[in-house]
């Protein structure tokens, strides 16, 4: 696929928007965390997510699938994500380098891959194995 064709594709620009939004999120979280403690930042952060949730709900005409298991896993997901976010904001609240912290925390899929192998009996792909090897080296370098 040629570059000019890729640049005309909607999914490409959506992906770019995702990268820019998540990158900006990390920088703004750091800027706010310089003054505001992690739990208060998380409180404010969650309020900031509500317009997107409302827009998604409105787009679905306020109808969600009625699955108790799916909703339970989803709610638990939000709670655990909130705890992780507080930890990340606590890291930003220290004097650590923002990009080192952001890049280190972005290694979390390594744990998802391992947990999926244990609990969902998914197999490790060659790409994931290479990724884990790079991650292990990165963790050692960050700890030095």
């Amino acid at each position: 696929m040629s570059l000019s064709r890729v640049l005309r594709l909607r999914w490409f620009w959506c992906s770019v928007l995702c990268v820019l939004c998540w990158g900006a999120w990390a920088i703004l979280a750091k800027l706010g965390s310089r003054e505001i403690p992690p739990d208060t930042m998380q409180f404010i952060f969650t309020i900031g997510t509500l317009p997107v949730a409302f827009a998604l709900l409105a787009a679905r005409r306020f109808n969600l699938e009625k699955s108790v298991r799916g909703t339970s896993f989803g709610l638990l997901n939000g709670i655990v994500a909130g705890i992780g976010s507080i930890a990340l904001l606590a890291a930003y609240h220290t004097t650590g380098n923002t990009y080192v912290i952001t890049v280190a925390v972005a290694l979390y899929p390594i744990l998802t891959v391992i947990l999926a192998m244990i609990f969902l009996r998914e197999r490790l792909t060659r790409c994931q194995a290479i990724g884990i090897a790079f991650a292990a080296v990165a963790i050692v370098l960050f700890a030095l």
Partner: protein
Amino acid sequence: MHIEPWFWFAAIAVIAFGITGLLQKLSTNHLSADSALIVLIAGLVLLEPLIYPGSAVLHYSRSNLAWGLLSGFLNALGSWALLAAMKAGGTASVVAPLTALYPLVVVLCAPFILHESITMLQAAGIVCSLLAGVFLSFPDQDNPQSDIEAHMD
């Protein structure tokens, strides 16, 4: 060997986000991806009473409060954009590794916005981490959808 405090907080974040990746997979087995994102935000709201700062929140500067609000909005908007990329026909094998590069934005912008510097060892760690993120994001060919959904938190 002295390990900086940020490392331990980051380790907790990695563990929590790693678990959310698994929970996201379990959630999207029963819900559509956009419903799962809505319910995830509802889960974040459940934590709010526990971390409610009271009137103390008004003592912080407006700019920092704005950064906090905007960071939440952009995080959720980024998740929505990922969903939209998938709905617009982007394949998981391309979209997931591409969006896993988001820390690159921080790496490129932080020196100018935050005026931070890094050591050579940290720079090497960043390169390894970015490569790890890209490789870890390549989906399982047997079940590509589950892997892309794991990135939405």
